[in-house]
């Protein structure tokens, strides 16, 4: 199963291509080494034979037949000439001098190079040694063969040939095995990821790809996939939570409206009561529509469809308008609403959305802060960008709730009965995400401080 997958995997195919290319190159190099080594060895031996042949030819020229015979006999007494082969015959091929027992039967060229197996007087091995020699025919019909026993030479080139061929085969075998092992490992990890994916599709998002702890690229891939799965799982959970909440928050007014209309439908028409009922129903419908448009607004911001409306805006001006708009509401609540910080802070963004985000934060601070408290909107430029913060001195929120408050429809237990639909901070979070801004919630001791960190405006 795994082997079949290994052999058909693309990694293995790539490995085969690599082995093939590498193999051809290695074979070529080895063939060159082999050929040049053998030809060098052979040409050295041939030069020695040629030189010896010329020496003897000189002896013949100078001292005639007897001089040559004498020269050959003298040479055969020297140890250093042990691997030399000489044969001097008359025209009837009768031996006149030399250590070769008989004139080689074949091949017997008239003159020039020849190779044959022949028995010499000095040979000790059972099989006749391989001889390479040069034949010269003198004008009288006498023939001289000068050569060398090249059995050793033959053995040497044979060994090189064997070494070269076997190492090429060994290289191919090892490379093949290595690529199977490597591919198997790769395929094994991929199969693990595939198996997890299949398990997730079949049973649910709780499965994770096991890590090997090797901190290699496979572990990193698995880690990232696992993080992605975590994110998907969180998002799925949020969607479920949101749809539950949507169902709850929309069903409540819809049920009220339905009940009211049903009662009226079956009851008698009473002018004043009917009007009251219709008025209440319209108010409930408006609440439903408001939730609906808040949701689509958040969804649209999250879809990042509005970046083309981004301009360089002065957040101090925007925050100033928010503060002015909410000043009356704060006054009614007995809350002091003040603004501090720089006079001009530029960020790149959408004026309406930034207004909306600050307005939501200020609205929350007034609503959930202390009665007759103090809400401070502060805007400043720091080294790392622009910071907008809204702080109140109310009860704050428990640390464990910090990450939940940005969820859609999320409402703290303590504020369950204050007006609002639990979408404000989701909108702030969506606006922040769209602008690449970071949200931080701090303990204002007492109270809550929400900070929005924008990166500096470009240009």
């Amino acid at each position: 199963m795994l082997l079949a997958k290994t052999l058909t995997s693309s990694t293995f195919k790539l490995a085969l291509i690599a082995i093939g290319t590498f193999g051809v190159i290695v074979s070529g190099i080895f063939a060159y080494v082999y050929l040049s080594t053998t030809s060098y060895v052979r040409s050295r031996s041939d030069r020695a034979i040629l030189a010896e042949s010329l020496n003897l030819h000189d002896a013949y020229e100078r001292n005639g037949r007897d001089g040559l015979i004498d020269a050959i006999r003298r040479r055969m007494t020297y140890r250093s000439f042990a691997d030399h082969v000489y044969l001097f015959v008359d025209p009837s091929l009768k031996q006149l001098a030399g250590n070769l027992t008989e004139w080689p039967s074949e091949p017997t060229p008239a003159s020039g190079w020849t190779e044959f197996r022949g028995r010499t007087a000095v040979s000790t091995t059972a099989s006749p040694p391989l001889v390479r020699g040069m034949v010269e025919i003198f004008p009288g019909g006498d023939r001289l063969l000068v050569g060398r026993d090249i059995s050793d030479l033959d053995l040497f080139t044979g060994r090189i040939k064997f070494a070269v061929i076997s190492s090429v085969i060994l290289i191919f075998l090892l490379a093949g095995m290595a690529s199977i092992l490597v591919t198997r490992r790769t395929v094994g990890r991929i199969e693990q990821i595939n198996a997890t994916s299949r398990a997730i599709m079949q049973s649910g998002l709780d499965q994770r790809i096991p890590l090997r702890g090797s901190h290699d690229e496979w572990d990193r891939v698995a880690e990232n996939l696992n993080l992605m799965l975590d994110r998907i799982e969180t998002l799925m959970g949020e969607i479920k939570q949101v749809s539950d909440n949507v169902a709850h928050d929309l069903r409540t007014p819809l049920t009220r409206m339905r009940g009211r209309l049903e009662t009226a439908y079956h009851g008698k028409r009473v002018g004043e009561a009917d009007q009251l009922l219709i008025g209440d129903t319209i108010a409930d419908l408006d609440a439903v529509l408001r939730i609906f448009s808040s949701l689509t607004r958040i969804a649209q911001i999250e879809a990042q469809a509005r970046k083309d409306a981004f301009r360089t805006v002065n957040v101090v001006e925007i925050a100033g308008e928010v503060v002015e708009l909410y000043d009356a509401a704060a006054e009614q609540d007995g809350t002091r609403l003040t603004m501090v910080g720089d006079r001009e802070v530029q960020v790149t963004g959408d004026r309406d959305l930034i207004f909306d985000a600050i307005a939501n934060l200020v609205d929350n601070a007034i609503k959930h802060g202390r009665n007759a408290g103090h809400v401070v909107v502060s805007i400043e430029t720091t080294g790392s960008g622009a910071m907008i913060s809204v702080a109140d001195d109310g009860p704050g929120i428990p640390a464990c709730e910090c990450e939940h408050v940005f969820k859609r429809f999320y409402r703290l237990e303590q504020s369950r009965y204050t007006p609002g639909n639990g979408l404000g901070l989701s909108l702030v979070a969506a606006v922040a995400r769209l602008h690449g801004a970071r949200i931080e919630m701090r303990d204002n001791a007492p109270g809550l401080k929400v900070e929005l960190w924008f990166s500096p405006a470009a240009g």
């Binding site: 008025g279 689509t296 649209q300 708009l325 909410y326 509401a329 006054e331 009614q332 309406d352 207004f355």
Partner: protein, 230 residues
């Protein structure tokens, strides 16, 4: 607005919505023509001088925006009020840029529609050149940006002044909360709290406290109206 110039063209492809609109507009004293398609709107819109043309963004044959452009090219000066189910700000901006004068997202309340029609109709027949707006004993000086009632000066913040100015420009007519947000704060969304009411409440205290009669009136379920008694 003169009695003879209360004719409205309603371009709406859904017959029930068109019927409801026509019925309510007629009962509010308008004369109403209906067009159910873009082509019908083009022929009717060019044939008669309307006070306002309300137009749906999505029509069966031609896009509402194309109809508006075409009518404008034909020399039709009537203001357009776009009525659309495409509710997002981008769509609004696109619609306004294409020649729409105002934008209302479906579903809307009829009083809101009426308030906007009134404001648009007035814009088309008078161009205000006054430097001082007067409603009862309230005087708003648009040059010095100050307001007073009788001999008593009213101290207003800049946005409060803008709000009062907008109310005064529409004196006698209902102004919705959304219209205030749009014209005073340039906001194209609903902050979904009673923030406007609280704000108007403060302006009202400055304008109406310890006076002979109130000028700013709340219109239940829709918004406000600045009007002198009698």
């Amino acid at each position: 607005m003169t009695g003879g110039h209360r004719r409205i063209l309603v371009v709406e492809d859904d017959p029930e919505t068109a019927g409801q609109l026509a019925e309510q507009l007629v009962s509010s004293g308008y004369q109403v023509d209906l067009a159910a398609s873009g082509n019908e709107a083009l022929s009717k819109g060019a044939a008669c001088d309307y006070a306002v043309i309300t137009i749906d963004r999505m029509l069966p044959d031609i896009d509402g925006i194309t109809v508006m452009r075409q009518l404008r090219d034909d020399g039709v000066a009537a203001p357009f009020l776009i009525l659309s189910a495409l509710g997002e700000v981008d769509d609004r901006v696109r619609g306004l840029r294409a020649g729409g004068d105002d934008y209302l997202v479906k579903p809307f309340s009829f009083v809101e529609l009426l308030a906007r029609l009134e404001a648009l109709g007035r814009r088309s027949d008078t161009i205000a050149k006054e430097t001082i707006l007067r409603v009862g004993d309230l005087a708003i000086d648009l040059i010095t940006r100050t307001a007073s009632r009788g001999s008593k000066d009213i101290v207003l913040l800049p946005k409060e002044f803008q709000l009062l100015e907008y109310l005064a420009r529409n004196a006698g007519r209902v102004v919705s909360r959304a219209m205030l947000l749009q014209h005073v704060w340039d906001l194209h969304f609903d902050p979904s709290t009673n923030i406007i009411d609280v704000y108007v409440g403060r302006v009202r205290r400055k304008v109406d406290d310890q006076q002979a009669y109130p000028l700013i009136h709340t219109v239940r379920g829709i918004g406000y109206c600045l009007r002198a008694p009698g």
